[in-house]
Symmetry: C2
């Protein structure tokens, strides 16, 4: 064996893992979009078996041995980055017993499946025991992952989605937000009070589909490498050569589907733009979930609610829906700040409130200060305090609205707010380097905007750490001031 | 370890295999229905990896050891049947090297993917080298499987789909057919010459979808355990709790989609009706492909082209298509005998000619008497001789029309004709036992027809061998006289 062979053996092993993760992505997508109810049990068992197998591949003694020796080999910087990502995945997997991985997959599949009907029926009593079982397992997971990394349990969960993130960091960022956000919301609402309110035009699902596909094309989605479907909770799934995004339609509110689609298109272009030469290796993956959300929110908030793209959206909406919406009407719809119960429909100013609430809930659940039974009351109180809304008895639009808890993904929510902040920071940097998004798009140069993302974010995969990536693109690490500046510029 | 534990260990191992086969079924279905072109390479690699893994599970030394000891354990008759099916699967897998399994999966995925476009473009020159590579691998497979079972190579391929079938048996059956079928075709055509010809009404895809779903419901398809989609080649896939059938639409010929759907519904009900208590074990699978085709052809030919169901179909067609087709017109369409180039669109009288042609081609290719380069000429000569049709230059409706060869499934085609014969035999038995299909359906007792299939075929899974199953249901093994009788009764 030559000294280089350990690294190459690792590449082979991770390529195999990648193939099985391909099947995992397919199973997840299919379950949410295509699978009939009767398929649930067999699918849950198959996915649990698959998770166990992937876990076994990542925890194989031979993999650990190659990892131990590969660091001594003469590797390029990129190969070293790949090795860093391999080591991270291996450590995360090795910390957890296979039985727990398998049990969690099976339990969350069943919980999510039941949740879909339970949410529709506002059935908190039916959902509660399922969620309790999931939370119990996630607490166990957090405990084990935390011990392995010498992290607090909830920090360990944060690290699953954004390596390096801590409660201390989030607390600081959110603490700052809590100071200036409430008064900003009040100021914006006062300013917008004079805006006329007009109902959205009715739009059939067929019209909306055509509109969404057209806007995806405008935004550079490659349909040879992906598709758009319908699911009860919009998401982006699939694999880099075959990215599958979803939306859901409301005939009385075409903007909910359109802006979900734009959001997911941001995720999709990130995946479609990952470095081809690293495909199948850990370094070829997207950097992290906060960076992923920064791309979707860059598309949804920075780009698609700005003034540059407005006439392009207006023209497509009027064409597909057969209506006569003015630019001003559209702008009002896209930037109206209005506290509501649903996170995914929230405007970008009130959105962080939804995340802060969930963050507090998750910390409480993991640290044992809160039980699932406490959730509705806690939720209602927090919504009252943060946004002045009562959610009493409305579980489906309250603590049952998100897919994250039924599938056991605690620790994810902060990625949305970190993503919104990174998106504003990227936007500011882009403005300094090549011009503002709005000016570029107004000048017919939308592709320059996405090219900047391609060059600075997408093509980097996971070759850099989050901090390295953000510094290379913007000259500094996370700086929430850009987000504050963005909101004030756009909304005041 | 107690003596019974070997059998139970085997059940565990085969349950694991079943879970991975679930993912295989999903990957296959998705590739044919949903996957964009860009997903092809990664999917092919993932599916090859999966095939290799399943192969490794089936050839594991521990599995062989449990198999060797389980036969000495005190097992029920059903458990012994399960053990027989386990042993068969293990032997088939063990005979083949893993590398060949992986290579074949990857090669056939690529070949099928390219074939879809090549077929549309009538691109024989593009398809030829791909097919040559597939045939070379299948010849190797046939050679190895044959040596392991002391069978001729093509017999080994036949055995993959219908264990126990031999060329000697097929030659006998087809030899007999060749004697009486040509004159029957002539007689029927002469009789039908006086039938008026009327064009089918135009039908949108939306109308046809609604019609097909309605007819599937009529035929007892359980939509909680399955779905209908579109693909370029209709097929039945998925898993027992989640059976996925496909069709393809032609606005000028709604019957092609409708009867594909009815055919696949027969396959689907077989899968949906398999014994729940054996799900996940080899004995819980469908018996074989000839028996599978007997169920699809029972639905498509015995049931749906008979006089009993005619008014039920007529009513649904007129309702969904907004037309006024008479019972007689519909009956003429459904029973008109007319030689054509396309197997899947063939009437049941000329259908065996399509199979006999393919059977001769496959034997020739495997035994080395024929090369892929010879195919177009051989095809044209055979079509001229069997059905009086020239297919020169028309590859897409000639030797490029079927999916079986691009995916490397040589040895399958005879299952269709064996299936047609078994279907006629089941129909005759049913008539003796509870009444004719037509009489039962005319009396509003369609469910008695499917209940007979449920009791005699579907619920048996693979607990009986094909001969045992057929004898239990009909009192004799395969008897082609019933098929001949059926055609003469219906068409003369």
């Amino acid at each position: 064996m030559t000294s280089r062979s350990h690294y190459h053996a690792l590449c082979q092993q991770f390529k195999t893992i990648y193939h099985f993760e391909h099947l995992q992505a397919l199973g997840d997508w299919d379950q949410a979009t295509m699978m009939p109810a009767g398929g649930s049990q067999a699918r849950g068992e198959a996915m649990a078996q698959l998770a166990l197998h992937i876990h076994a591949l990542k925890t194989a003694p031979s993999l650990a041995e190659h990892l131990a020796h590969a660091a001594d080999e003469p590797l390029s910087a990129a190969q070293q980055a790949n090795l860093r990502e391999m080591r991270y995945q291996q450590r995360q997997a090795t910390a957890l017993p296979g039985k727990l991985v398998q049990a969690k997959t099976q339990l969350t599949y069943a919980c999510e499946h039941a949740w879909r009907a339970q949410r529709q029926q506002n059935d908190w009593q039916g959902f509660k025991p399922n969620l309790e079982a999931v939370i119990a397992l996630v607490r166990e997971e957090a405990q084990i992952l935390g011990e392995a990394q010498q992290l607090a349990p909830y920090d360990a969960l944060l690290n699953k989605f954004e390596p390096g993130t801590t409660m201390a960091q989030i607390d600081r960022v959110f603490g700052d937000l809590k100071i200036w956000l409430p008064s900003l919301i009040q100021q914006v609402q006062a300013k917008q009070q004079a805006w006329p309110t007009k109902a959205l035009p009715h739009a059939t699902i067929a019209q909306q589909k055509a509109l969404n596909l057209d806007v995806m094309t405008l935004l550079g989605f490659d349909f040879k490498q992906g598709r758009l479907d319908t699911s009860s909770h919009p998401f982006s799934g699939g694999v880099p050569g075959d990215v599958r995004i979803t939306t859901r339609y409301d005939e009385h509110d075409f903007l909910t589907a359109l802006f979900s689609t734009i959001h997911e298109t941001g995720h999709a272009r990130y995946e479609q733009g990952l470095p081809l030469e690293w495909r199948g290796q850990p370094a070829g993956n997207a950097r992290s979930m906060a960076i992923h959300e920064s791309q979707s929110l860059f598309f949804e908030m920075q780009m698609a609610r700005g003034t540059g793209i407005l006439p392009l959206l207006q023209q497509r909406i009027n064409h597909h829906l057969g209506c006569q919406i003015s630019e001003l009407e559209l702008q009002h719809w896209l930037t109206r700040v209005s506290p509501g119960r649903i996170r995914v429909d929230a405007d970008e100013v009130t959105y962080p409130c939804h995340i802060m609430l969930r963050y507090e809930v998750e910390k409480g659940l993991i640290e044992g200060r809160l039980t699932v039974a406490d959730l509705p009351e806690f939720w209602d109180a927090a919504m009252q305090s943060l946004l002045g809304l009562s959610t009493q008895g409305d579980y489906r639009n309250g603590c049952m609205q998100d897919i994250h808890w039924p599938v056991g993904e605690l620790g994810y929510f902060p990625s949305y707010s970190l993503g919104a902040m990174y998106a504003a920071q990227f936007s500011a940097s882009m403005q300094n380097q090549i011009g503002s998004i709005d000016a570029l798009i107004a000048a017919g140069e939308l592709t320059l905007v996405t090219q900047w993302l391609q060059d600075n974010i997408w093509s980097k995969g996971a070759l850099l750490t989050t901090d390295e990536l953000v510094i290379a693109a913007t000259g500094e690490t996370l700086n929430p001031a850009h987000f504050k500046q963005h909101l004030m510029t756009r909304y005041l």
